[in-house]
């Protein structure tokens, strides 16, 4: 055997292994973004499915969660206290919004809901600037999740990001159990099908609406807290996530939690792999310069193109809710 050839073989094999690890990393990054989108989309789709209201200010609840967690974590040094404070704050803000504004909006058309919640976004973005200053807050990864785990030999992956995926999947499971197996879940499903009948049967629909809104607020805040150490905590941080969550809902089918879950993972993984691979893929077919300029542009548009493609085939989304 020629030793030189052998070394080349090893080099190719090692190169393949590295490429494989890179693929796995991208898929995990996508899954991590996907479960965060799911937490946002689940709240939005619940609130829309039951109260028939489109809430642009859902991103503000995400922002409230991130800001409160960053501030309390910074002050107390405990991530878990920060998380608890963030969830509590978002639930309080959510209930306050529901009682003062959204109850009036349920009976209004979607245009009024869009505009009123747009006004809310302007208000919240400015309030956090007044309370926390215009500069972005820094939130570090909690110590007990700092570090890396070897997902495969020679492939370390940040523990914190793995924890996000785990929490996201656990919440998805709990949400499924809540809606499919509990009495409250039964009421939620009944409310989505026929709220007038539900009220006639003696259920306190007003209270149910407030509870669902608070649940959505808590889910959004959870996503915001988990996003804190990864993205910057700044005014307006919830808006791009909100619009991506809209893409998820549209792909999944409005009002369907299952659809939101599948679509969130799909959107997350398509986005992450597109950003990683579109440029080298284009370089195979066109010049390097063209790939360098078109690759990132196409990658940033990819999830919207995916949405357009899904809508073209199935205008109601992948999992349209039945019975409405």
């Amino acid at each position: 055997m020629d030793p030189g050839l052998r070394r080349d073989d090893n080099g190719v094999a090692a190169g393949r292994a590295i490429a494989m690890i890179y693929v796995i990393e991208q898929v995990l990054n996508g899954a991590q973004f996907g479960v965060m989108l799911f937490l946002m989309a689940a709240g939005l789709t619940l609130i829309f499915g039951i109260m028939n209201v489109i809430n642009l200010a859902h991103g503000s609840l995400y922002m409230v969660g991130a800001y409160v967690a960053a501030a309390v974590f910074g002050a107390t040094g405990s991530f878990l206290i920060g998380l608890a404070a963030a969830l509590a704050a978002a639930i309080v803000v959510g209930i306050a919004l529901e009682v003062t504004l959204f109850r009036t909006l349920y009976a209004r058309d979607h245009l009024d809901q869009v505009l009123a919640t747009f006004g809310l976004i302007l208000f919240f973005n400015e309030i956090v600037r007044i309370l926390f200053g215009a500069t972005a807050l820094y939130m570090r990864v909690p110590d007990f999740l700092n570090g890396r785990v070897e997902i495969l030999p020679g492939a370390p992956y940040p523990t914190y990001r793995l924890a996000i995926i785990a929490v996201g999947l656990a919440v998805a499971l709990l949400l499924y159990l809540l809606i499919a197996r509990t009495r409250i879940g039964m009421l939620i499903r009944a409310g989505a099908s026929n709220r007038v009948m539900l009220g006639a049967l003696g259920v306190n629909v007003t209270l149910l609406y407030t509870a669902v809104f608070a649940l959505g607020a808590a889910l959004a805040a959870l996503a915001g807290v988990m996003a804190g150490p990864i993205f910057t905590v700044e005014s307006g941080m919830g808006e791009s996530v909100l619009i991506s969550a809209f893409v998820v809902i549209v792909i999944g089918g409005i009002g369907s939690i299952r659809g939101a879950f599948v679509a969130a993972l799909l959107v997350g993984i398509v986005d992450a792999t597109g950003r990683a691979y579109l440029r080298p893929l284009l370089a195979l077919f066109t010049s390097r310069a063209a790939a360098d300029s078109a690759g990132p542009a196409l990658a940033s548009m990819l999830i919207y193109i995916l949405m357009a493609a899904v809508l073209f085939v199935r205008p109601q989304g992948l999992f349209p809710p039945r019975g409405r």
């Binding site: 829309f48 747009f118 302007l122 600037r129 791009s240 300029s293 940033s300």
Partner: protein, 316 residues
């Protein structure tokens, strides 16, 4: 007939008042107001184009800033490559915005209601991210425009006053065309679709084609507003297409009066003047503007035009 006359007179009063702005600004030695009111009129054109589909067609499009940006970028990119001819600039802005509206419209008009709102919002955001990733045209930082559109000595847009009257002429043209369009067969059909789409389909009208045509016209007109905006600021950045801009344009329509022609003009004026006053008063002016908008939405169904003229049965 009398109602049409009243509307025509109101439009004339409005345009005359706008025409006097540079004169008054010169007399008061406050040239700042010429630029501010040019901006008002440009957004009035954008809001007017949105009102065609929102107010008359009932289509809640939440991505209208995209066409403003496409029109502005058409001018900026052509200038960047050395094309300065104004006719080419405006034709390109109109065509690019129309093509974008056609593509977005074909996909999003297949849906309705809340789906339509989310999809147009998502497409608007897509165009915004496209602007950010255009690295050779400045990316996030934007692109400066060396000289305004060159109309070969016909009009010199480098002069702020001439630019102002050019924008005013465009606004007058679009108000006039808009007035004819909404009274035409096309406009009446569009309003029919708004009040009862299913019935219009049952009557055998090609509803999708009418909605798509309105969507494309609105996009194209907004593209022209974008080209004017590029000439006013001599700079474009993706910020012009941010989704909050779409919300602002929609707010102007609601503030002024949805489904009216002068409403969007009035709304643009009030919104931008309010912004100008509030931002001088406090840096946290959006904390005041936000709740103000909520109050307008909750308590005033027909906007400022509703305060001015006699109440009409509500619609939409």
């Amino acid at each position: 007939m009398r109602a049409i006359d009243a509307r025509g007179i109101a439009a004339l009063v409005c345009l005359t008042a706008l025409a006097l702005v540079p004169v008054i600004a010169a007399a008061a030695d406050a040239p700042f107001y010429v630029g501010l009111f040019a901006r008002v009129m440009i957004f009035a054109i954008a809001a007017l184009s949105l009102d065609l589909i929102l107010g008359y067609g009932g289509l809640v499009s939440f991505g209208h800033a995209a066409y403003l940006g496409i029109g502005a970028y058409a001018v900026a990119i052509l200038s960047f490559h050395g094309v300065t001819n104004g006719f080419v600039h405006f034709a390109a802005a109109l065509a690019a915005a129309a093509v974008a509206a056609l593509v977005i419209g074909i996909v999003s008009l297949r849906t309705s209601g809340v789906y339509f709102i989310m999809i147009t919002l998502a497409f608007g955001q897509m165009v915004y991210y496209l602007g950010i990733s255009l690295n050779q045209y400045g990316g996030d930082d934007g692109l400066s425009i060396g000289r305004p559109s060159d109309f070969g000595g016909l009009v010199d847009l480098a002069d702020p006053t001439i630019l102002y009257y050019f924008v005013l002429a465009c606004l007058a043209l679009f108000l006039c065309l808009g007035g004819r369009a909404v009274r035409s067969r096309f406009g009446v059909l569009l309003q029919g679709v708004r009040s009862n789409e299913r019935r219009m389909v049952a009557l055998g009208f090609p509803v999708f084609r009418y909605k798509l045509a309105a969507f494309v016209i609105a996009g194209a007109v907004c593209g022209v507003a974008g080209a004017l905006f590029a000439n006013l600021t001599l700079f474009v950045s993706p910020g012009i297409m941010h989704w909050t801009r779409s919300g602002e344009i929609m707010m102007m329509v609601i503030l002024g009066g949805i489904g009216t022609l002068l409403g969007p003009v009035l709304g643009a004026a009030v919104y931008l003047l309010l912004e100008s006053v509030l931002s001088r008063w406090s840096e946290h002016w959006q904390a005041i503007l936000g709740p103000l908008l909520i109050i307008v939405v909750l308590f005033s169904k027909s906007g400022l035009m509703g305060l001015i003229r006699a109440p009409r049965p509500p619609h939409g």
